[in-house]
Every structure is written in C-alpha cells, then in structure tokens.
Symmetry: D3
Subunit: 206 residues, 6 copies
C-alpha cells in the first residue's frame, strides 16, 4: 500500500480532486469568473450524473419544451465547454426564432420529424426537415428555429459547445421586456399595432 | 555585421517574417481555416496600414453607414482577435436591431449623441444615450441597436474582439432573403400582412 | 433590392460564406492545421446534415458498436469544438477501457441500462448505472468504460467537446499493434503468457 | 405574463445576470484569476458605460497622455478580450519605445498626423506616418512608438486585444526602478554615464 | 520622481502586481477555477523560484522518481500553460505506461540513455532510444512510457504544456484502487488470476 | 485481425495520422496559419526526435549561445503550445535584455550559476541568482536577462509556452537595423553619440 501512495504522489501529485483539475464541478454558490464557476472542493459520483433529462411539459403557447442540462442545472459541465438539453415538440409545436451567443449547437432528432433552419451572416437561409437519427448544425450566434413537421410528437437532443450557451428569443427580446414600443419600431420597422399586439402576448411593457 | 546575423539567428531564429509568427497578414486568396486565413509570405509596412476609415455615405433608408476594417478589408488583423469599423449616423439615422456572432463590441462616440442598447440572455434591457467621448459595451452575440439621438450628424468607432465578427440584422434575416413568409410568421408570430410589407422593403422573396 | 445588397455589404461585409466565418465546413481533401481542416469554399444545407446516426452492428467480440459523427464523418463540425457519436450495446455488450485525448464526453442513455465509470488522476473510481434519460460526464483524457447492465439492448448518445476527440483503447494500445511483448510486460508488469494471449485476440505482433 | 417567465425559464434558464455569462463585469475587490476578475453579482447600465475618454494632460516631459479604459478603469471589459485607450500628443509629443505583453494593438488617428512604427522579431523595422482616419497594427509584444508628426496637436484611439494589455516602457524598465546601473550596462552595453543620466531623468536608483 | 509615477500611471496603469496580470502566482489556499487558482495579492522574487529540482529517490519497485514542478509545487506557473518535472531512472528503472490528460510533453535526456515511446490514436507505435541531449515529443493524452536503456543511472527533464498536466498510470487505474476485479476483467479481458496478482502489487481492493 | 481493424475503425475512426489530430508535425514548406503550420501527411518516429540539443558556440561578443528547438527547428512541436532551447554561457557570458512576445519562459539551470531577472509591467524588478537545479519564471512579453554569475561555464534549459515564442533583443531592435538614429534618440532619450556607438557594434544603419 505504501508503494501505491508513493506512485500516486510521484505521478498524480495529489490525493484530492480539487488540486488535480481533471474536472471542476461548479460551486454554484460562489461568484462566476470569465472561465466559469470556482470548483467544488470535494465531489462524489452523484455530482457527475444528471437524472432529469425527461420529456418536458409542452402545454404552452408554442407547444414546446426545453429541458436544459447546462452548468446551472448540471454543475459537472463547468469548464468543460460542453452541455446538452432535451427538446420536446407537441403536434404543431414550434421553437421560435432564437440564437445562442455562446455556443454552436447540434440537434439530433430522436422521435418524429422536425423542420429546422438557420440564417447565416451572409444572409443565406439553410432549412431542412430531419427524421429520427438525423443531425443538423446551428453555427454559434446565428438565428435559428425548429418546429414539428410531423403528425405526432417530436423530440430531439440539443448539444452545445459551451457549458452555458445562453439563449435569446427574438420575440422575447423585442416584445417580452421593458424595451419601449418606440424603440422596437425604430429598430425593426415593425408597425405600432403589430408591436403592441405582440407585447400583449409576450408581456412586454413600455 | 556578422555578429548581428549571429545574434539574430540565435535569438530570433529566423530571417523571414513568415516563420516568426509575430503576425499573419491574411492571404485572402487562400481558403480560410478555423483560425483564419493562411499568412502572406512577405509583407511591407503597407500591409499594416488601413486608409479608408472615412465618413461613409448615409443616403439610404436607415440613414447610417458602417465602414468596416475587418480581415476582408484589412488583412493585417488576421489572427489578432481584433478589428474595428466606423459608424456614421445622419440626422435621424438608425442602425437596426442586430447581433455579432463572433465578437463583443465597444462603441466609442466621436461626434454627436447616440442612443444605444442591448438585451441580455436574461432578457434585461440596457439602454443609454452616449455623448462624444463615451463608450458602451455590447456583449458577444446579443441583440443591440444604435440611433442618432441628436440634431446633428453622429459618428462612432466600433471595436470588435474578433478579426471577423460577422453581423446579423434581424430585419434582413427575417425579411431580406428567401425564408418563406409562412416560416417567418410561424417562428415570430408576426402577422402575414406585416411580413409581406417588410419583405417588400427588404427585398425578401417567398 | 439594391437597398438590401447595400445593407448586406455594410453589415455582413460579404456575399460568400467562406469569408464570413460563421462556419468552416471541412475540406477533407486539404491538409489539416492545428485548428482543423481548411474550409470548403461553398456549402449547401446538405453539408450541415448527418444522416447515418443509426443503430450499428454489434455482432463482434465486445458486442458493441460506435457510430461516429466526428469531423471525418461530418465535416460541418470542423472548428466548432463539438461532435457526437451513437453507442449501441447488445445484451452483454461492453466498451473496453479507453480514453479520448482531445475531449471531455457526456453519455446520454436513450435505451436500456448502462453501467459506466471513469478513474481520475487522483486514482479515484467513479462508477454508476444509468437508466434511460440519465447523463454522465467523462472528463477529458481519463480512462473510462461502459457496459450493458440490463437484459435488453442498450443505446446512448455520446457528446464530445472536440470535432475530433481521438480514442485510445487500452487493449488495442497494449495488444493490438507491433509494441513488443517485452515492452508491454516491462511497462505494465503483466505476465508474458497473459500478454501473448491478448496479443492473439487483438492481433498484435512482436 | 406567466407565459413569458415560462419561456424565459425554458430558453434563458435564468432570471439573473450572474448565472448567464453574457458578460462578467469585474468585481475589482476580489482577487483576479488567470481568466480575469470574478463577476459582479448585479449590474446596471452604468456598469457598461465609460465616460472619461477625454483629452488628457500632456504637460509632461514627453508631451503625451494616455487615458486607458482597461479592466481596472472600465470593469465591463473583464473577460471580453478587448479594451481601448485614448492617446493625446502635444506638438512635439512622443510616446517612448514600449511594448504590451498581453495584446496586439490598433492605432486609429483621429486628429493631426502621427508617425508610428514597430520592430519585428525578425528585426525588421516598420514605420509610417498616419493622417486622420488611418489605422496601423502593432503586433502583440513587439517594441513600438508614436510621435506627433505635425504642427498641431494629434490624437488617436488605441485598441487592444485584451482587457488588460499591460505596458512596458524601455526607459522605465531600464532607468526608472531599482535595477542597478551595473546590470543595465551589462545587459545593454550602454555607457555608465548614459545610464546615470537617464536614471536621473526617470528616477531610477541603484 | 513625480514624472516617473506619472509615466507609470499612464502606461502601466497600476502600482500593484495583482491588477497587472503579467502573472498570477497561485493562492493555493483558494478554490481553483477552470482557468486555475486565484492570484496571490502580493509576490516577491521568491515566488518565482523553484529550488527542489534535484535527483529523486529511486529506491522503489519501478526504480524511478519524478520530481514535479507543477502548480501545486510551484505556484508561479499558475495560468502560464507550462510546467516541468525531473525524471530519474536507476539502472533497470522504468516509468510504467501512463498518460497526461491535460498536456503534451517533451522529454529531454540529461544523463544516460532512455528508451521512450507512445501509441497514437491510430494505434501506431512510436519508440526510440534517446541519448543525452536528445528530445522526444509525447502528444497530449496518449499512452507513453520510458525506461533506462543503459548501464548507468539516467535522468531527464520533462516539459508539459499545462501548469497541471495530471497523470494516469494504467496499472494504478486498473489495479491500485477500488475498481472491482470483475469490472477490470470485463473491460480489459485480463484473466482473473492476473488481475488479483496485480491488485496485490498495486494495493487495489475489490 | 479483422476484429482489430474493426475496433480501430469504431474507436479511432481513422487509419492515418493526419486525420487523427493527436499531433500536427509541421509541413514547413506550406504557409503558416494563425494556429501554426499545416500538418505533414505522414510521419515516422524520426519526426518526433530532436538531436541537436548540444552545447553551442559561445565565442562571440556576449559569450553566450542559444540552441533553439522551436517549430522551425523541431517541427513536431507545431500546434502543441510548447518548445525549448538550450542556453550556454561562457565565463562572463550574458544574454542581453530581451523579451518573447509569444510565450512565458522557465529557465532551469543545469550547470554553474546564473543571475537572471525580469521587470514587470508595474515596473518592479525581480532578480535572483540560480544554482544548478533551480528554476525561474519569466512571464510572457516582459524584458528579462541572464548572465553567468560563476567562475565556470554555465548552462540552462529554457522552456517556452509556445512552439514559436519569438524573441526581441532591445539592443538589436534599437541598434541592429535601419531604425534611424533620430528615431532611436527621440523614443529613448539616448544621446546621439551613444546611439552611433551602439549602431556600430550591432551593425545598424541610418
């Protein structure tokens, strides 16, 4: 046994996880840094498992649900540059136009058929309909969308190249906050009536 | 003189620029890589100078002009993780809602008064009006806008944390390409008439 | 229409994909660089879709199958720092002890039950059994394994924080190449007979 | 309104800034990490604005002034890999030979005419004179200088590819600290009298 | 003297180390982040010197010794992406098969003759014998080994592209912890007797 | 044997080095990219060995010698973020004041005694004398120097956190090229006579 400790000391230079940065499970109670959360000082197998990757509740306006396993839900991905989420689309369900400032995304369809697309910086449109077992790439920061293209429920796994991709939904950004109607109209050329109508739907003020 | 060459050889290990990667001026004629363009094999001081950073033509619908010095216009920034652009706003000029997938941005007002703002992933709105000599940060990938808040022309310098930030204008992405009206309506809840009207303005088809 | 091209020129600074590095679909026919493959000069929606993410053939010694969507199979992930693979385990199937030099990994169980684990640099063992919808993290470069813990087929999606994670199977590295038995025995303390036996299985010479 | 919170929860996974790392405004009171300062837990628009980017006082030996907006003066750039500074040069003003260990730099002349140059690792000299609206690149870590080439005041904006570029002025490093004259002479071959003279100017001891 | 402080303020923007991130000497008493340890608030020359890089004790089973100067032993390398270690091999000494999850390695032989090799992801074997003054590369995360090929003691300096490379020895990972014999046998095809024998040597339980 | 190829295909996804980016040995005949040289398409063990790390010729003005193993001399370090060099100092030998724009450095003394030091951005001086087996850190981009502090030859190994650190010697940058005396004097305050004298030594013109 002594020999083992000796070898460990020689080759692993540590008997604790915290000082061997194989991983850095987030201590969500500490302030973040630009590289992520500080590391928990001790971990168990439980820290590395995420168990809530189940079908979400799609009984809402857009008939979709996203179940994230990002760093705030799954601290083990802190610092690893990777995370995932589950997407469920009821019949007729849609994920409205949105983008992720911090990650490229892969969508893997696991059930049903999903139409998905993105628009590039060169303003080209890339749209396709995916069946079970097909994968599409959404490059980082570009507007994209998905909707159920079939007659039954659809589901997909979303993979992100960041532990915290962030999301921005166009409708929420324009109509779901205190951004004034005047500002929205000026910066989008949308009509006043249209803006008011959507602010009512998305709960925006001003 | 021999001594110098000797010292150079010892300490600079090179007599050519290309093999001392102080810089990598883009060879725009070669295919890009994920890290940028391959390097030009020989350079002169001219390669490091950009001379067209002048006031742009704002006689257009939005009464604004952006003069970029990105890698495609200024190959010397290739690989340096930095670039810049000049913004000019005529009276009443506006930069419509847009985002940059690849860079955070600083705006430095050099003339007039500019109202600028962005919306965060947490859907908070950050808006302010800047006078000459004031700077605002736009974090990477988030929707933001600027407009002339004064009674005279306004100008600003835009600084980006990438040699190729990319830009996506919401109106262009939604109304300026072949994305079908049906898709736009489905993913934004905008009315059909509104979408048709804006497609007419921005030249979108479908 | 002119106005659109104008806006595009101002804000997207490009009319081609290649010079707006939203993405860099690999040109697999060109030599790689440390950041990945050079970019294809023109792309279509087909470049962004992977369609072969189906159940693999598990009729082999270990009764498992891995279907990769890495950069060599799915060029669209080039430079994005992300890729995926599908794992299928027949009843009794096992993925032998291995590591990925270039990526951390998430395993998401989509069918059946899978026992998985890894060993840390501090030589701690982390093992658990995952059911459908559970996720485990394998930190970069650490030895790990999976096997079917149930009485039916099991499947999982593997997510990697690199477009080209690389893989090293301990048995293949020790017994499946020309590494001499003497070297294997000296560096592992395995018995000669054991090494010979496994070289026979894994086709090693020397 | 409920629907909005729901969408936010689904797509932004957060109702606070701190856990959505769109940005990481520096908490200057906490110890730095290799990636920068920890993030402030709550921010307002004021955190994103810098208002002191005005002409500096050039009544000094070199007749120049640098007004930095680096992370210590402008905490919002923390973690963004970008910062800026304003340079003012009185008639005859000079920025002495210096380098920035942590950033490449762009200089944009906004008033007057400035001669600027740098020396490469291959010991090539790159010098030019810039007029208003011209930009020059200084690659990271290389010695460079600027001086007023005109008959009136000159100003420029300096852009850096780091939130904290650091600066090292050759004269200060050699003559403005406790580095002994003997060491300076030995490592530069400067004459003793010259070293003493400059130490007197720059306040060096030893 | 006033002029100096003035210049310092203008150009270095700091009078403390902590806020000029030239370096970030680790505060080992604080929790790590994904980018390393937080920085010590004040440092002296002593913080930058490592003095224990001497010949280690090789009186152990494998007759080798590794003396690390990683971040936990040499806090000054924190955040610098570099570290080193000294290797000593007695006559007949061997470093067993291992890998480093976080770093590529260079071995520089300084005394004697050392046989070293690694196995690639493509399962190719690269082996050679190095004499004093020869260097070999071990790419990140790949299994490699070294042993004394001569009739006298051998020594080498090991250079790593990380301040905390981490190490995983195959024998320790398989036989030196609580990983059950059943799991080892299942994931390696090693015989039960062999596993028990090596667990006895390396102190594994289960 | 078939089984092996099968396993390799499944787990290594390659039968060539080039498409498994364990390493990227530089093809020095191709243009560099910002991430380094393109990779050689096929390699052997010879590509990974550097054999010229011997004592250099110190019969020169400064009585020192640097033998680099950077990417241009040792293509195997391409893309690995690491390189090394050997330093030899004759009695009285000195490495003049210099900096490396692209790397932090460790100096390991292997023979004799060496005085070494650097100056920080905060203009603090860090100097010490190292004996055999002692290590000092030089943070990236900061001016530093070394000289033989003993009565016999001294040698050291230099470790860099880049495959191509670049070097800039103050005397060469100021006096060993075509930078005009007037420019040197203006940007350093050195006397004309001093500049002429050193230009004569270092072979500068103008």
């Amino acid at each position: 046994m002594i020999f083992i400790l000796f070898l460990l000391t020689l080759l692993s230079h540590s008997t604790s996880n915290a000082s061997v940065l194989d991983f850095c499970v987030a201590d969500l109670s500490s302030p973040q840094t630009p590289s992520g959360y500080p590391c928990k000082s001790s971990v168990t197998i439980k820290d590395f498992v995420f168990s809530n990757f189940n079908e979400g509740n799609t009984s809402n306006f857009f008939k979709f649900s996203v179940t994230p396993a990002f760093v705030d839900q799954f601290p083990a991905v802190n610092g690893l540059g990777i995370s995932t989420a589950r997407l469920d689309l009821d019949i007729g369900g849609t994920v409205p136009m949105h983008s992720h400032r911090g990650a490229s995304e892969l969508i893997i369809v696991v059930q049903g058929r999903i139409t998905a697309g993105f628009i590039s910086s060169a303003n080209e449109v890339f749209v396709t309909t995916l069946s079970k077992g097909e994968i599409l790439v959404f490059p980082q920061g570009l507007l994209h969308f998905e909707f159920n293209a079939g007659k039954s429920k659809a589901s997909a796994f979303l993979i992100f190249s960041s532990s915290n991709p962030g999301s921005q939904v166009v409708d929420l950004a324009l109509f779901g906050n205190k951004l004034s109607s005047a500002l929205v109209e000026k910066t989008t050329l949308l009509d006043h009536a249209q803006v008011r109508k959507l602010k009512a739907i998305f709960g925006g003020s001003g």
